[in-house]
Symmetry: C2
């Protein structure tokens, strides 16, 4: 029997039961590699948190085994943890990606002052060895160009990791998902398929990206004035289609929004975005061009309050003002949680007189992920022995596993894993052997790590009920209060009511008189008494329980 | 020329550029009536706020003119402001509504200790006079039974206010929207139509409620185990269909969740919900019945964390535990902003082993509002001179006004109003004359009113960055600090780092030494210096700007 060390271990550290922060460890003996190193954006449950990373301490603790990090494509939920990870495992850890993927990563690492990373360009159709592993990269379609699936050759059998994918039969750049290579892998035998579950609940096929282009062109052709298009800046195919539609309709393209400017620049330099210099104009020159000859390409498709589109909607964009009769196209789908923010921007644009076209009104967006029939097709092409659905919430992983059963994968060979679950594989078996350290790390300002739940809970309490601070000086000998207590309330509605405020202070004064009379000199005793009495007062009078911080100074 | 006072004034105080808190003032001379008095639920922009009401001070200041309040149907966005409004305008102000509407209102008013309100039952097809006005009530379909549209006869012409409506040709209770009465009103001449815009962006017709019933029955018939259905408790037609499907499939109905228990009780008592006693069982008896003979009807379709369904999903419901193989139907649409919460519940239920059916997977929900074709049909039936789209965000009002133009209402006769806009009408004219006091009032614990934006902004700041309080005692004569400064941080990630905390305190001590040396004895000067230095320290070290509250005690 092989030594425990010589079993293959596959450990997703992120991306399961969530959309975001994708990261998978593959480990055999003394060799470990990572596929993807992504981040997730926080929601209202994480007030004040900038970014959420996977807890990758499992990797950090074994960094001498880490041979490299393979990035399947350039989206932040696959690349965004890299700067933080490199800081822990060494800036010289090789990062493997295709040309555009590395182009986008390079910019991000520079922002983090990582100036000489070891970036190794890979190619769809190419092969690379690292440690005991061999890697074959296969083209896949997604909502960013240059994505790959990865076949990992291991001593006990092969893994196929799809990355994010769809099967677009008419991709904008002509780069089809490489059916031949996938079939070849399937024929030669894939022990384990790990496949993107994002759209597993969506029936049918994802419609072709090219159809969106046709709609964009139609809208631009019939609009009498300016057309503004908001989209994800990394969605270079969409950006290409916006440019193509604009040029075909005789419109010049104005690019605005920091990431849109950056990403279109990188994409043009690397040859992924084709538009002639003469067709791009600076926002400042826009005034010289008739409005029906202008197309503004901008960020803000998620309703982000500081984005170009939101600024335009609010009338505080530096160069672009919405005018009555402008057409705005939101060429994206709101990420779950952003629905309200997007709707707010649509309302403001409408108020400013714009015609707003969005996913709900026109065919201006398709998903970047394959729907149920594509996922089944992938399973049928690969015919894996074992199956692990990845990249999705539990509902998506479950739906994907049901698709797998429909096409004949036995239920016992399907593993719906949690982040941190270690799937141990031999030539003849697969089982979850243990759960390794996993979870989340928060980026909060400059601090990175397991920010205590206490801090988050405090923030939520503060947001809901506010805070009251009482400062009291007492005579250390007698326990008698010196001077008046100071009461400061923030985020407490009652704090605005002068009478209530005065009554609250009187209640505290009374409590202090009582503790002094009882001879209490211990600041803890006095603190607790004051906290208790103010809490009770506020509950009785305003039905609120703000956080109460008594500070008792002995003088 | 008529005196200014004798013009008809129509003033929406809520429901425009928002979904919720519907309220419309109609005023002529010395008579004023209200149509609806609703509330809105706060979102993440209003942390800690319980409810949002329209600012109805315009009404309060003219309460002697208020003849009555007409409620079109029993939803909280049409009734929920009543307890707060009655407190201001008098508990004896007449409230007019149909039987079910009043039944639901009565319960709510009792909760607010308003025990003898003046409830006047009206009937679809009936007529009532108040002051100079006459009112005719017409049946309309909606997602709650017993809804009405109101024709208001005024000295200068008639208004038709649709309430919330759809045109279901096969309503569950057989009560059709009263086409004959609407056509009659149209023939006799409607000066102003005010019509529900919620689904103006949705093409076509809203599908019949009865089709949902067919799906529910199909799912219940083929499920091997328990079926749990979450829905809005006021959606009595849906509840009826759940009960009918359950009974038809030989399942007993278990009702759980406070509002579901209350509303089904009221609806059964008043004759709006028909299910035999023998077909309803108590949750405690459920264990004695085979699982395939059980249907649980519960609250929680919006993912509310304390609802019955969320408790079941989390495994902490008192009587119902989710078992592997249970089927859960979420028979509702997430209200915008609730998408993530609903998805979270779906994920947890899936994890617990349930099959979850929702709007996205099965035809288990239809809207309560008419779509574009129904709105156009209403316009064609009524043929109003003037049109005001109501009940919707700007995007919906705009879409509805475009529908009106398509069916021939001239653009100049369409008014997209803001809350507080006063539309003044004479026999031959309509114009916006002024904007009256309007806006929002927050219910926050026991306090009701215009809670300062300061409080809300403070709460948002606290949630994002936390708070740091520094307490310092200084010698009033010399300005020298007495003892050590106290530093308390809450919601600040850095607060958990002992070294940072100590460094922060040292920085403050240094600053105090400096101010003392400079002879500063003014507490304000010392406060500002301390605030400044701590703020700078935290920005340099953690890139965060928590709220800083320096409290300087002179001793």
């Amino acid at each position: 029997m092989a030594k425990k060390n010589n079993r293959l271990r596959v450990i997703p550290l992120g991306g399961l039961d969530e959309i975001g922060k994708n990261m998978t460890v593959i480990e055999y003996g003394n060799d470990m590699i990572l596929i993807d190193a992504g981040l997730m954006f926080p929601d209202e449950d994480h007030p004040g948190v900038d970014l959420i990373l996977p807890d990758f301490s499992y990797v950090t603790k074994r960094k001498e085994k880490l041979r490299g990090i393979i990035i399947t494509h350039g989206h932040e939920d696959h690349t965004g943890a890299l700067p933080y990870l490199l800081r822990e495992v060494g800036e010289q850890t090789p990062i493997l990606g295709t040309k555009l993927t590395l182009g986008l990563i390079k910019g991000k690492l520079e922002e983090h002052k990582i100036r000489k990373p070891k970036l190794r360009e890979i190619h769809a159709g190419g092969h690379v060895n690292m440690g005991v592993f061999g890697f074959d990269f296969m083209a896949v379609n997604h909502s960013i160009p240059d994505g790959v699936a990865v076949r990992v050759r291991t001593p006990v059998g092969d893994i196929l990791h799809t990355g994010d994918f769809k099967l677009d039969q008419t991709p904008i750049d002509g780069r089809l998902t490489d059916y031949a290579d996938i079939v070849k892998a399937g024929k030669q035998g894939i022990m384990l398929l790990m496949s993107d579950s994002t759209n597993a609940e969506t029936a049918g096929y994802t419609r072709p990206e090219a159809e969106v282009g046709a709609t964009l062109r139609q809208i631009m052709a019939s609009a009498d004035q300016r057309v503004l298009v908001a989209s994800f800046s990394s969605h270079i195919h969409r950006v290409q289609q916006v440019c193509d539609a604009a040029v075909a309709c005789g419109r010049k393209v104005v690019v605005t929004g920091r990431s849109m400017v950056n990403n279109t620049k990188i994409a043009r330099e690397l040859g992924y975005l084709n538009i002639a210099d003469k067709d791009i104009v600076d926002a400042y020159q826009m005034g010289d061009i008739p409005t029906r000859k202008v197309c503004v390409l901008c960020t803000g498709s998620q309703g982000e309050p500081l984005s170009a589109l939101a600024r335009m909607a609010n009338g505080d964009h530096r160069t672009v003002q919405i005018e009555k009769g402008d057409t705005v196209i939101i060429s994206a789908s709101p990420v779950p949680g952003n629905e309200k923010a997007v709707s707010r921007v649509i309302n403001r644009l409408t108020k400013a007189g714009a015609h707003v076209k969005h996913k709900g009104s026109d065919f201006v967006h398709v998903s970047g992920h394959g729907a149920a029939e594509e996922l089944k097709l992938m399973l049928n092409l690969v015919k894996p022995k074992y199956f692990v659905p990845i990249h999705g919430e539990t509902r998506h992983l479950k739906a994907h596993s049901e698709l797998a059963m429909k096409v004949g994968v036995p239920e016992k060979n399907i593993f719906i894993l949690d982040n941190g679950a270690c799937l141990e594989l031999t030539e003849s078996s697969a089982r979850v052997s243990e759960h390794v350290e996993s979870g989340v790390a928060f980026v909060d300002g400059l601090s990175v790590g397991e920010m205590g739940n206490v801090v988050l809970r405090d923030r939520q309490l503060l947001a809901r009920d506010g805070i009251a601070t009482i400062v009291i000086a007492i005579d250390g000998q007698t326990g008698k209060p010196i001077g008046e207590p100071e009461l400061v309330m923030r985020g407490v509605a009652a704090g605005e009511d002068q009478k209530l405020f005065d009554d609250a202070r009187s209640r505290i004064v009374k409590t202090l008189a009582k503790t002094a009379k009882e001879g209490a000199t211990d600041t803890k005793v006095v603190s607790n008494a004051v906290r208790e009495s103010l809490s009770q007062f506020l509950w009785e009078n305003v039905r609120r329980r703000p956080m109460i911080i008594p500070i008792v100074l002995e003088v």
